[in-house]
Structures are given as C-alpha cells and as structure tokens.
C-alpha cells in the first residue's frame, strides 16, 4: 500500500481505526463478511509497522488512554472535545488545521482530532 500518511496525528488516527477494526472482527463475521486468518495476521503486522512510526511518548500516551477510555482519540467539534464535552482553550486553533500538531483535551487528556 502506498504510504500517504505523514503526520503523527494521522498515524495515531490510523492506529485507532486499526484497533477498532480488530476489536470488531467477530461482529463483522457474524454479519456474513469474509474474515480470514491470513488477513487478521496482516492487520497485526500493519499495526506493528504503524507503531514504529509514532514517537514513543505519544504512543505510550495513546496506549494509556486506550486502557482508560474506549477511544484515545476523539473528534473536536466547534471547539468542544467530544470525549468529555468540555470546551478547548481559545488558544488552540480549531479551523484550517493541517494536522501537524497533536493537542490533548485539558480536561480528560484525550487526543483531539479536528473534523473541520
């Protein structure tokens, strides 16, 4: 697969998406979708490759948050963290972002991802 992701937040989002996919394998199988053992192993390898690209402190924070909440990364909408629904400080830019910096919610600590 061509590597199109480049920033730490993109790698983190891709990691969370992968973790969610692995968590829901059984439910998806029950709906009648094909899931093969080789494919599951491919996802495990993909995860190993992905974590190599994430800086260690960030990765540790992601894993810590993941064990505490279901989602370590949550969307931020209209300057609100959709994990705990507290407003993010006005000093944090919320529009026209380029995903180059990683921000966390000051209240709950979750990593924020802006959808707009």
């Amino acid at each position: 697969m061509a590597e199109k992701l480049s920033t730490q937040i993109e790698f983190l989002v891709a990691l969370q998406d992968l973790d969610i996919m692995q968590r829901e394998i059984e439910e998806v199988k029950q709906l009648g979708f094909e899931v093969n053992a080789e494919g599951a192993a491919t996802l495990t390898r993909a995860r190993e490759e992905l974590v190599q690209k994430i800086r260690q402190p960030l990765l540790r924070n992601y894993e810590r948050l993941r064990s505490r909440y279901k989602r370590a990364i949550v969307p931020a909408k209209e300057a609100t963290c959709l994990g705990c629904f507290m407003r993010v400080p006005t000093s944090v830019p919320t529009h026209g972002r380029a995903d180059t910096e990683v921000y966390t919610c000051e209240n709950c600590g979750r990593i924020l991802y802006w959808l707009a």
Partner: protein, 152 residues
C-alpha cells in the same frame, strides 16, 4: 424488533449511478472522495488507508455482484453510506468470484450517538440478500428511485 431505517444514511451527493473507476482500488478511492466532497470526512487519505486495511482482512464482496466496503474511522463525522454502480463490473475478489456491480460504502465514526453502525450494516446485508431487490438496484436511474426502493 425495530426495523432499521436506511434512507437517512444516504445522500444524493454520494450517489454514483455510473462509477468512473474500473478497478477495486479505483472504486474505493472514488467513493471515499465522495465522502470527502460531501464534508463527511476531512482527510480522504486516512479513510482510504482504513478501507484498504479492511479489504486486507477479507474481501467485502458478499457475492451476487455486491460489495459493502465498510469501517469505523475517527476521521468520519457521521454514519453515512455511499452508493456506486458499475455496469461493466469490477474484479473485487468476492467470495463467489463474480464481478461486483453494486457497491455500498459504509463509514461511521467510532461511536456515533445511537450506535447504529453494526445494525445498519446488518440491515443492508439483509436487504441485499433478496434476489429481486438486488435486481432493482441495478436498474435505478435517479436518487429518488433509489430511495423509493429502500423505503419499499
């Protein structure tokens, strides 16, 4: 049991009655771009990465010319479904080996408010399991016809 409603998850801007792409990867990209153009996802590359990974897990071609690529992604704002039709057919690596003509791409945030992702996915599989319904989806010309079919 409550019948899961599907129509509200579709949008005319994500209804593609004649897919331009001729390959599976091309169709995935074309439909993800529909989500991006509609403002449902901001970062198409991130979502494309997720749908490609999902295909690695096992083909989303569910036989009879139908594929339902799907997944939850943090980069998606809402649970939405894009529809694409390919008259020519796409090699999808489906379980029955047949080319795919009808593609329903389902994307959802990790936790949407009503947690409807799996029920919606299941309902879609159920609707498309009826041969007469599948046939009708191949013949729709407009979004209005398409939604009428979903309501029937």
């Amino acid at each position: 049991m409550e019948k899961i409603e599907l129509v509200s998850h579709f949008d005319e801007s994500m209804f593609v009655p004649a897919l331009q792409a001729r390959t599976k990867d091309g169709v995935l990209e074309e439909l993800v771009n529909c989500f991006a153009s509609a403002g449902i996802v901001r970062n198409a590359a991130l979502v494309l990465e997720m749908v490609h990974r999902r295909e690695q897990l096992g083909s989303t071609g569910i036989n009879h010319g139908i594929a339902i690529p799907h997944g939850r992604t943090t980069a998606s704002a809402k649970l939405k479904i894009a529809f694409g039709y390919s008259k020519r057919g796409i090699a999808w690596g489906a379980m029955d080996g047949k080319p795919v003509h009808l593609v329903f791409m389902v994307l959802s945030p990790p936790h949407e408010q009503d947690n409807r992702y799996l029920p919606v996915l299941g309902r879609l599989v159920e609707v498309l399991s009826h041969p007469e319904e599948r046939e009708k989806f191949s013949e729709v010309m407009s979004f209005a016809e398409f939604t009428n079919l979903l309501k029937s």
